[in-house]
């Protein structure tokens, strides 16, 4: 689990690495159905770690897919400064190619015009960061669920993205593995300074990891709070618990 991180954690460095996002009047509906996103405005500064929470079907995953350009907006616009930079997504499932070895799966995340030897070296580098260097030559079928998700994280990180979108990536993991993965993602984010958007059901996860939490209700931002608790955060911190309670109250009140 311990990885040597070479990048310095300075604010300037982080601002350079990340991607700023400006969303204005964004709407999205599917095939004449009701709007999933309704006139949403949002600005995410470069390098921020934003968590998006909400009930199932509130549009949070659609928002993520819109920002990544996987869906076309019905109205409004999304501006990414430095949009030529790499954006990567990590899904809820690892989605590894079962017929490619771990290192080759990681190399899927690299641009095609990188030479073979370089691909291998970079894949190994990032596997070391997620603590799986010794599994490089194995088939995904031989790994545990948590290890597979770490390979998926390595695949997302190998191209040094400026934006990392996390679509409930830890939802299928057991509680301990999940906490380990949260710490790992947080540590790598701090070192690399990319902009991170985490979509999650788990409010505790959101308050533990994020700088800022957005609660989405019926396609709009219902709550936008900053998490001012300094890192490293301790689980069970009263300030975090208080914030978690507030967000949960909000979510439950509107669902009743």
């Amino acid at each position: 689990m311990t990885a040597a991180l070479r990048l310095a954690d300075t604010p300037e460095h982080r601002a350079n690495r990340g991607l700023a996002i400006h969303v204005r009047g964004l709407s999205k509906s599917f095939e004449n159905g009701p709007s999933v996103i309704r006139g949403l405005d949002l600005t995410i500064p470069a390098g921020q770690f934003v968590a998006v929470v909400g009930r199932s079907g509130c549009g949070k995953s659609t928002l993520l897919r819109l920002i990544l350009g996987l869906e076309e907006p019905s109205a409004g616009r999304i501006a990414l400064n430095g949009s030529e930079q790499t954006k990567r997504i990590m899904f809820q499932e690892p989605r590894l190619l079962p017929w490619a070895r771990v290192a080759d799966n990681v190399a899927v995340g690299l641009s095609r015009d990188i030479g073979k030897a370089d691909r291998k070296a970079r894949a190994l580098d990032v596997l070391r960061e997620v603590g799986l260097a010794e599994k490089a030559g194995q088939w995904p079928a031989t790994l545990s669920g948590g290890q597979r998700q770490r390979v998926a994280l390595a695949r997302a990180l190998v191209s040094r993205p400026a934006l990392l979108a996390l679509d409930e990536p830890l939802g299928a993991l057991d509680a301990l593995t999940r906490i380990e993965m949260q710490a790992m993602i947080e540590r790598i984010w701090e070192a690399q300074g990319f902009t991170a958007i985490l979509v999650t059901h788990d409010v505790a996860e959101a308050v533990a990891m994020a700088d800022r939490i957005l609660v989405i209700e019926e396609g709009a931002i219902a709550l936008d709070v900053d998490v001012d608790v300094p890192r490293p955060r301790r689980r069970g911190d009263p300030a975090l618990a208080e914030l978690e309670g507030r967000i949960l109250d909000r979510l439950l009140r509107n669902g009743a």
């Binding site: 899904f91 499932e93 079962p98 490619a100 070895r101 899927v108 030559g137 194995q138 088939w139």
Partner: protein, 279 residues
Amino acid sequence: MADSAAIRSLPGRARTLEAAPKPAPRFDAGRLLPWLLPTLVIVGWQAAASLGLVSTRFMPTPLDVAAAGWRLAQTGELFENLWVSFARAASGFLIGGGIGLFFGLANGLSRLSERLTDTSLQMVRNVPHLSLIPLVILWFGIDEEAKLFLVALGVFFPIYANTLHGIRSVDPQLIEMGRVYGMNRRELFWRVVLPGALPSIFVGVRYALGIMWLTLIVAETISANSGLGYMAMQAREFMLVDVVVLAILIYAALGKLADSLTRTLERACLSWNPAYRNT
């Protein structure tokens, strides 16, 4: 590479150790087990014939069959017919299998192609291909084309249907992942779709191999002037029962050989799949 080879051979090695705890030279009794039953059948058959329990007029002894094989091998007749049959089977398989693979891939990848051809192909499929023999004889006589045509037609459908099914059942989440990670159509095909469809394609190949032999035997028995089926039919005319049985046994051996070849290929191509690692 070395890692996976080690993993693959582990259970096999464990089994060997149980059977023969002594180190090299090792005798792997487990490998002979599948051959126990055929051997017993042959020994029992020989014994029954030698003891006079069955008449050798209609059922020769294994030794008679072996003698017939030796005789025909010396005249060169056996190898000539074997080669002719093998060449027919292989070329018919390659032609029919190739066309089946082509349409399977095309219809799996393109809606338009599927709408254009699938209904027609399904209709043709429901005609038993052996029922075309009279027509085929009228068209091609008893020349090579007749056999090639029938074999190709027979192997076409299992390969077509399984290729199509294989492509359809590739995990759409993996395809989405490939797209999001910047794969173009070509890469998506070679790195995601084809490997995902391969297990199913192999099922089609094994099924097609069975149909290949069946079709060839029937075609050669009815209309041919060379090949194993022809050899058996000629032998029947002269009441050479031993040669008839020899031909049947050769078919069995060829079928087993084709199956083993496919298994070896499967293990090489699908070693990532736990289901194929130790079979």
